[in-house]
Symmetry: C2
Subunit: 227 residues, 2 copies
């Protein structure tokens, strides 16, 4: 497994260097395989097409993220779970800044690669929306708000990531994204807070009035806020 | 000009019907031209490739929108100008519901057409961001907020448009979008309102304390609110 992963990484590095040096269209799979010191068929064991060689394995990341969201405790506020998921995405870039910066250079030059990246982004966005619909309710205008929140998270992710890549991949992109998301989501949190609120009666007694079916994490949040 | 526009519309109608009936890949430009009763070269006077035939002229719409935004008075709140621009986009679908619904059917079946549509959407989003940066200031975290607002507008546009298309293109999509945007943007408006505020001193005297360079529409808004 470790060996396969190393081969994959060598192929990615070779592909990136060749694409940047001689152009994407001008580079063949044979040249990439040769530069990585493996056979042509080894390339196709890891990637279907040339484009795939330079991107993080978005399908695998998406599966991880969906798993993370589905496993999130009902006591965790949904926006916290989504923030964690966005950090998991940025981690796939942060673990190898050099490759990420080269890939960014390349996607700026080759439109088809840029589209590949935009497509991946929209899949993450849909996963966030599906999660929010499931945890927070899927009626209107809640559905629209969940879509907007997911778009806001992905937009913020891309904004922070782009700035980091333009700066050569130095600095703590994870910390920057955490801060930026907390600013943006603080503005959107009220959209998830507009249900029945608990009412305090006495100092030591807290009566929580809430709708049947209200998610547990909301009740917990209200109790904490009231306490 | 009117004739050219009619030819264009016939070609679009013919292309849509053929794509839906026999498949996108299976349809040739010659077949489309024949069905529209024009020569092959006429097709290429209107469209570069097969894909272009079925989409609204996004480049022309984008030029109109940028023109509208640039012409907006500095007294118009930026979010109002952006809302109007989003309504201009939805109008391009609302003027011909039948074509819009067929095109939607088709983009759901053919991934490459869906990507074309997503690409157009992201160009509108960038135009909104550029306008907000110009009118509201381009420092951080303002830039990020402008990007998120633009993503929210485009997401809301697509959400309302999709619901309308799924419903067969009946109902007033413009009114629905106006209402949805006003709900979403009311939540985001505070991001554009957090500068120095004017302070009232006496009943009949209004002293506006504001930063040099504050946009006129903001001062006007504050004066109106204070009065």
């Amino acid at each position: 497994m470790a060996v396969r992963r190393d081969v994959r990484r060598s192929l990615t590095a070779a592909a990136l260097d060749l694409f940047l040096a001689q152009g994407f269209d001008e580079t063949t799979v044979d040249q990439i395989a040769e530069a990585a010191g493996v056979a042509r068929r080894t390339f196709f064991r890891h990637f279907r097409v040339k484009e795939d060689a330079i991107f993080p394995d978005h399908d695998a990341v998406l599966r991880e993220i969906v798993g993370h969201l589905e496993a999130a405790s009902p006591l965790v506020p949904p926006l916290t779970a989504v923030t964690e998921a966005a950090l998991m995405v940025v981690d796939t870039y942060a673990t190898d800044p050099e490759t990420s910066v080269k890939r960014y250079e390349l996607t700026r030059r080759v439109p088809s690669l840029r589209e590949h990246e935009i497509g991946a982004t929209s899949r993450y966005q849909r996963a966030f929306t599906a999660f929010l619909n499931e945890r927070d309710g899927a009626d209107e205008p809640r559905r629209l708000r969940h879509e907007v929140i997911s778009a806001a998270v992905v937009t913020t992710h891309n904004h922070v990531l782009r700035a980091w890549l333009r700066g050569g991949g130095t600095g703590d992109v994870r910390a920057e994204l955490t801060e930026a998301l907390s600013g943006i989501l603080a503005g959107l949190q009220p959209w998830l807070d507009d249900r029945d609120r608990p009412r305090e009666v006495e100092d030591d007694v807290l009566i929580v009035v809430t709708r049947r079916g209200t998610p547990l994490w909301k009740i917990a949040q209200e109790i904490e806020a009231a306490g």
